[in-house]
Subunit: 317 residues, 2 copies
């Protein structure tokens, strides 16, 4: 494999603080969910080892994800398997709709709103603001959060899972529409007030600048990039980085974004690179991914092949 | 006329600070709008004189109302007539729909919202909050105002007339609906957070306690209350007091109000008393109200008779 690709993997391994839990969520959502949703813990350790994640980190992380109801464990003899819970599966599927979308969603011109109606403590407010920030919400003062498309039921479900269930009875979910009166502020003003898009734009631009040389290399010499394991690792890092960008991206409709918005370049780059890495990466998973009884995980579901594909161009990979 | 009624009129006359402008708006909306919308300034002085309002106050007040585009003046020889402007007429008509409604309006389950999107100064925020308070809006923090039924175009028009046009480009009007998720806050929580209904309830209760003995007197001895001028003055004070209560009443739908809400008693009391006073009061207006050229104002429009009447019980008075 060429130098840029190897450097990308080495850079990740050298990071001081790897959030193994977050990386495992990327792995489950991207690679394990389409293959039945569960895997032997030994496979997980083996898959992440080349990224500098050790066995102890993986075991600690799956234990925490089990506590947080993302995963549950099943044993077969002395071997443990970790599987996505129904709510973990749903959350991965929700995220997947956004991550592997071929294009930005159309907007229904409705704002999703959460109003704060209780006198929360400052600490509760901070925790709430942070949790909603990570779900892409913008804030207007301390009492009003907005998002152009969030599924409010999933948002509240996520708050519940994050241990913020106690705040729910003080939060009111609404759906609102601009009434567009002459001379008053409108949707674009709401965007500039509720989000700091500069930081988001910077992060997208960085993603593009990191992965563009990788794509150039993969495109330039497809045979040299045929190392299955490195293709898998690169695919995992690509989706992990892209997923975390999308997490706090409000996915504003095109008409409300600045002209030079780099989110769409990032999407196209990610799509192109992902589809080129998929076949060798899946071969690696075929070899390594096992259930607790030592059997192979099921092959990917047919819908898997439509990731990043236009609706009218469904293809299998 | 009986003692209670006379005391009510005398009480008003003894007030230290009578807002003559506000009283004139009640007079124009209640008595002059249905009779063509204009009157000779001498008639206005004559009508208000028994309430302790002197000529100078009336002349100052009509001058101010002209500056504020409620009224405009027309001259006929040396006599001036003051007429409602088109916008003054519209505002009186809007208020009349609320004042003379036979019952509280049905709710469409939509909240009218105004979001503050500009970094206003503290002074601008205070002025805005006050202006919206007087239009019945509740506040959630400093950035979000709500009302169950306001006509947002009229609200912004009123802000413009009050000299707050400079703030409009920083205000976003929306219409929003509760999405009613299990375990989250809803419409009734929004009401308790955005309004202090106790003060409003106290003011309604006071209105009821002041006008109930008056109604008892008028009901008990209709012939003794046949003094046309006193009937007119009492009717004007009744509508003036009731109008100012309604001004800042958000007119919350019944299902969102406390069980013992006194607003409906106030409405029924006002309706009963108003209809009993109407005929003698109109006789007084027939005699006193003149245009600038000395002619009689037109008789009341037919729609006038339906004030406070159920839709299916339209009567002329």
């Amino acid at each position: 494999m060429a130098a840029t690709i190897r450097r990308q993997i080495a850079d990740f391994s050298r990071q001081k603080r790897v959030h193994t839990g977050s990386l495992l969520i990327s792995l489950f959502g991207d690679a394990i969910l389409p293959r039945g949703g569960g895997a032997w813990v030994g496979s997980l350790i083996r898959l992440l080892e080349p990224l500098g994640v050790n066995e102890r980190s993986v075991r600690t992380a799956v234990f925490r994800l089990t506590k947080d109801e993302w995963l549950y464990s099943e044993s077969s003899g002395r071997r443990s398997e970790y599987r996505l819970t129904p709510s973990g599966e749903r959350r991965c599927a929700d995220a997947a709709r956004q991550i592997y979308a071929a294009r930005a969603p159309a907007w229904d011109h409705r704002w999703r709103q959460i109003l704060v109606l209780s006198a929360f403590t400052q600490k509760e407010r901070d925790v709430l603001r942070r949790a909603l920030f990570w779900q892409g919400f913008g804030a207007l003062g301390a009492e009003c959060f907005v998002h152009p498309s969030a599924d409010l039921a999933s948002v509240f479900d996520a708050l519940l899972v994050e241990g913020l269930g106690g705040l729910l009875s003080g939060l009111m979910p609404l759906v609102a529409a601009d009434t567009s009166l002459v001379g008053t502020a409108g949707n674009t003003d709401l965007v500039s007030r509720a989000w700091d898009l500069r930081e988001m734009a910077r992060d997208y631009a960085e993603f593009v600048s990191v992965y563009t040389p990788v794509l150039v290399e993969v495109r330039g010499d497809p045979l040299a990039t045929a190392d299955d394991e490195e293709a898998f690792l690169l695919r995992l890092l690509l989706i992990h980085d892209y997923r975390r960008l999308l997490l706090r991206d409000p996915e504003l409709p095109e008409q409300l974004l600045p002209d030079d918005w780099p989110g769409e370049s990032a999407r196209l780059l990610c799509k192109d690179l992902y589809r080129r890495l998929l076949t060798p990466a899946e071969r690696h998973l075929d070899r390594v991914l096992r259930t607790a009884d030592g059997g192979a995980c099921p092959p990917p579901q047919p819908a898997f092949g439509s990731r990043f594909a236009e609706d009218d161009l469904l293809t299998t990979v």
